[in-house]
């Protein structure tokens, strides 16, 4: 195979910066999802001009390019499924400027998500999107995948905070979308198109993000239920009563039990479900809202409602939620983490369907997550070395997708389509809907060099495969 493109890159970057040794290429072959694909070269970038250079070479020689943040993707976003070049953006992490008068932040793509919120915090402001990996993940990755998080319930997700972008197109041109103003209707909203496009349309080199005043006060409560379905009804009732908590997180019995076995915190192990609710805002309003929610929860048959008195006790409860992930993998090592999302009124029905799927395929299915916004996280705990089990898991996952779509929901709330969910796109979007997306891709990236093999099916991913080997 001719490697003229490699020579071209090496002559522009120098041999040292174009990593091609086995130990390096193999170290950029994975993310936090499934599968491992070895790229031919890895380059770490620090400026937009460097990205322009790489894309011009790649476009000329039609070589696939895979932009990558810190590789925390749960959907295969940065996996180099067709070889080629991985661009590591994570080291370009030093440009971060807060403009408190304009209530905006300007960041380079490698800046960590949590660093943005910390920088805003110095001015009494906050950047709300809070994916649980925010201390690891980069803003570039969050923008590409349009990440969410628990606070999405009240504050929305990444796309709700992006007002302007600088992007390098697949042909190596630098463009700007949006700007620094909240209102902007000049032409098509390319900003929103790029956010969540999973790196298939362009490479983001700078983002202008909106920040908001930090709430002064917050309070946490825990509600215990003897039925998951009732807990789902409680969520719907709270949200239709003129109340908007910052977070409503659900833990089902399997996750409660797993946490208690892992690190006894004193959770009610006999409960079918617990809800963790956080309300934020002004102190008086928060207290009043907590009272109202308390009333609703009792009315709907919560067997117990706990309102911690100290911040330590609150942290203890949130710690329990954080421990779900490590605790459930104690049983078996592989965690298939889904994020199918349904309209909020459909939460109880979705939970019933998930229970049925669990029974039907005898899979170890645990449900927890950001229930308040309909973004449940059904996780299947399995062992990827067990082929027979993994086939059952594949079937169960496919049926979870179908269940969500049939209830008017979506395949993915916040993890992205990537490689794994691509085969199910048509089910949700229909033929024409999917075709419009393909046309957009073709217009932006005629040579299909940017993150090929994602969102749309190709030879590598025309069906869901989770089994190992």
């Amino acid at each position: 195979m001719s490697k003229d493109w490699l020579n071209a890159l090496q002559s522009q970057f120098g041999n040292d910066r174009v990593m091609t040794e086995t130990k390096d290429t193999h170290s950029y072959s994975f993310d936090a999802s499934f599968g491992s694909f070895v790229p031919e070269a890895v380059i770490q970038v620090y400026t937009k001009e460097e990205i322009v250079k790489i894309l011009k070479v790649a476009n000329e020689y039609a070589v696939p390019v895979y932009p990558r943040g810190q590789g925390t993707s749960l959907s295969g976003g940065p996996l180099p499924v067709k070889g080629g070049i991985v661009i590591d953006m994570a080291q370009w992490d030093n440009d971060l400027k807060v403009y408190p008068e304009d209530l905006i932040v300007v960041a380079s793509p490698g800046v960590k998500t949590s660093a943005i919120n910390e920088a805003a915090g110095k001015y009494g402001l906050m950047y709300p999107p809070d994916p649980s990996s925010s201390h690891v993940s980069t803003i570039g990755g969050n923008l590409a995948e349009n990440s969410g998080g628990p606070r999405g319930l009240k504050y929305g997700v990444t796309k709700d905070y992006v007002i302007g972008l600088e992007v390098v197109t697949p042909e190596g041109e630098i463009i700007r979308t949006g700007g620094k103003t909240i209102k902007n209707v000049t032409g098509y909203d390319l900003t929103k198109l790029i956010v969540g496009s999973e790196g298939t349309l362009g490479i983001i080199t700078e983002a202008v993000l909106k920040i908001i005043p930090k709430p002064q006060f917050s309070k946490t409560m825990m509600a215990v239920f003897d039925s998951v379905v009732t807990s789902g009804e409680a969520i719907s009732k709270v949200l239709t009563s003129g109340l908007l908590p910052a977070k409503i997180e659900l833990m089902d019995q399997a996750s409660i039990e797993a946490v208690e076995n892992f690190k006894p915190i004193g959770l009610p192990v006999n409960a079918e479900a617990i809800l963790l609710i956080e309300v934020d805002g002004h102190e008086e309003t928060v207290n009043e809202e907590v009272n109202q929610i308390h009333g609703i929860l009792n009315e709907l048959g919560a067997t117990d409602v706990v309102i911690p008195e100290t911040k330590e006790e609150e942290q203890h409860l949130w710690m329990a939620r954080k421990l779900v992930s490590p605790a459930i993998t104690r049983v078996k090592p592989t965690k298939v983490s889904e994020d199918a999302t349904v309209p909020r009124s459909q939460i109880p029905q979705m939970i019933e369907k998930l229970n049925a799927i669990k029974e039907k395929y005898h899979v170890n299915l645990v449900v927890f997550g950001h229930a308040g916004d309909g973004n449940l996280h059904p996780n299947i705990i399995c062992d990827k070395r067990d082929k027979e089990e993994m086939i059952r898991v594949e079937k169960a996952v496919a049926e979870i997708f179908e269940a969500a779509v049939s209830l008017g929901g979506t395949l993915s709330g916040e993890h992205g389509i990537g490689t794994m969910k691509a085969p199910f796109m048509e089910m949700e979007l229909g033929k024409a809907g999917l075709d419009m997306m393909k046309r957009i891709k073709k217009a932006w990236d005629p040579n299909d060099i940017l993150n090929p093999g994602k969102i749309f099916t190709s030879d590598q991913n025309n069906e869901l495969v989770l089994s190992h080997g």
């Binding site: 130990k23 193999h26 170290s27 936090a32 990996s133 592989t334």
Partner: protein
């Protein structure tokens, strides 16, 4: 599957690599990912390479450098949400690399000297203690020339030599009794694990450790047949020598019937608490279990005795603390040194950013990977300087030497100092309260 591959998988703890879900939560915790800036040098990156090697996808040469460059600080295991046994995977990989490696004459000579002659031998350690460590007058220099190592520079011993303390005279060392009685009433009988470097280069700190222990009501016993803890051997893939050293130590302390086995070196302590995992046969496993249950860091004993001692000399100084990775991440001893420091009157404690990250010393890592270790150290020193502390407290000889080196590299000699926790506690002139009370009542 190929039989050889299967054996390899067992040795390398291949099964444990499946616990890693590659979430990346280890990245911010890893000092080498921070300074080397590549997944190749991140914990999940290394686990992936070990796994691929065990599957026959990459060669041992591909694996070697990333494994060699790991500090083994275990910071990743603390933040890991799925409890991956990284330490086990790393040791498995080192063991296999060590077996496969064809060594050059020079490497063999250095290793033989370090692992077979120096660290297990008390005689050698004494000799090292009596002269400058591993270098100047031990004949190493001339030996090095004889075998055509043109200089000792690859190990950068000259750099370390500059920061070594004044060494005690041989008479002073010989005069140490084997059993030292507690001041006042005996609360417990402790066996003192002296450590190799601690008992040579830092002999004075060991002396002060004993003095503190007797004030805390301990009878201190120093078993003569104790030897090196075996940490450096285990971290270099020399499993069998590590096991032999463990056996010798277990016997040495068992014979003395002590209540507690105390050490003052975070790295050695971490090895001692892992002895049980070295054995599969019941008898030795049982012995190891009892040994591990008795093992404590000196700070744990002194912390428990805080109500029995009083510091009589205030230390008006700004102090910061560089933790020992093996002490906090493996032994899980975290709060005691803080509490002890803050109990000293006069002290202003200031924590620096990244105080709980590896300093780059990591056993003999700073000798084998000098430049990488200095990158890590220099980064640390920028944070130390921000704290404006005058004294850096450590709890392990490797860290102590490394921080001394850091001060020298910054040109801060005379303005900043690095000490062992024991030295600072000793400087505050603790007295046994009980003894004080007795003295007062005698006067009356």
């Amino acid at each position: 599957m190929d039989k050889e591959l299967k054996q390899l998988q067992e040795k390398i703890n291949y099964d444990k690599t499946f616990d890693c879900v590659q979430c990346g939560y280890c990245l911010p915790a890893c000092p080498t990912y921070e300074t080397m800036k590549k997944e190749t040098h991140s914990p999940r990156g290394r686990i992936n390479l070990v796994k691929e090697y065990a599957e026959g996808k990459i060669s041992v040469e591909d694996l070697k450098e990333p494994i060699d460059k790991c500090l083994g600080c275990n910071a990743c295991t603390v933040v890991c949400p799925t409890n991956v046994q990284y330490g086990k995977i790393l040791e498995g990989a080192k063991h296999v690399i060590e077996e496969k490696r064809t060594k050059s004459k020079k490497e063999e000579w250095v290793e033989n000297l370090i692992f077979d002659k120096v660290f297990p031998s008390r005689k050698w350690m004494k000799r090292i203690g009596n002269v400058s460590w591993l270098y100047q007058k031990s004949g190493l220099q001339s030996l090095a020339q004889k075998i055509k190592m043109t200089s000792i520079a690859p190990l950068h011993l000259d750099q370390f030599e500059k920061v070594l303390p004044d060494l005690p005279s041989p008479t002073k060392r010989k005069s140490r009794p084997k059993v030292i009685k507690a001041e006042g009433e005996t609360r417990m009988r402790v066996g003192f694990f002296t450590g190799c470097i601690m008992d040579s280069v830092f002999f004075e700190i060991n002396k002060k450790t004993i003095e503190l222990l007797i004030k805390a009501g301990c009878d201190v016993v120093i078993p003569e047949t104790q030897t090196c803890c075996g940490a450096l051997h285990a971290h270099s893939g020399k499993v069998e020598s590590s096991r032999q050293l463990a056996k010798q130590n277990m016997i040495a302390f068992e014979e003395e019937h002590v209540d507690v086995i105390v050490n003052n070196a975070g790295g050695c302590g971490a090895r001692l608490v892992e002895y049980e995992e070295l054995f599969t046969d019941e008898q030795w496993k049982e012995k190891a279990k009892s040994f591990v249950e008795k093992t404590r860091d000196v700070s744990q004993i002194l912390y428990e005795a805080l109500d029995q001692i009083e510091f009589t000399r205030p230390i008006n100084d700004i102090v910061t603390y560089q933790t020992s990775c093996h002490m906090i991440n493996v032994q899980k001893v975290t709060k005691e040194p803080f509490e002890l420091l803050q109990s000293i009157p006069g002290i202003e404690y200031r924590q620096f950013k990244g105080y709980d990250r590896c300093c780059g010393s990591a056993g003999i890592y700073n000798m084998l990977n000098y430049d990488d270790a200095m990158d890590i150290l220099d980064k640390k020193m920028t944070h130390v300087k921000v704290s404006r502390a005058h004294t850096i407290v450590t709890t392990n000889p490797g860290c102590l030497l490394q921080m001394k080196l850091g001060i020298q590299r910054e040109g801060l000699q005379g303005k900043m100092r690095a000490v062992h926790l024991v030295e600072l506690l000793h400087e505050a002139e603790p007295v046994s309260k009980e003894r004080q009370v007795t003295a007062i009542s005698n006067n009356a």
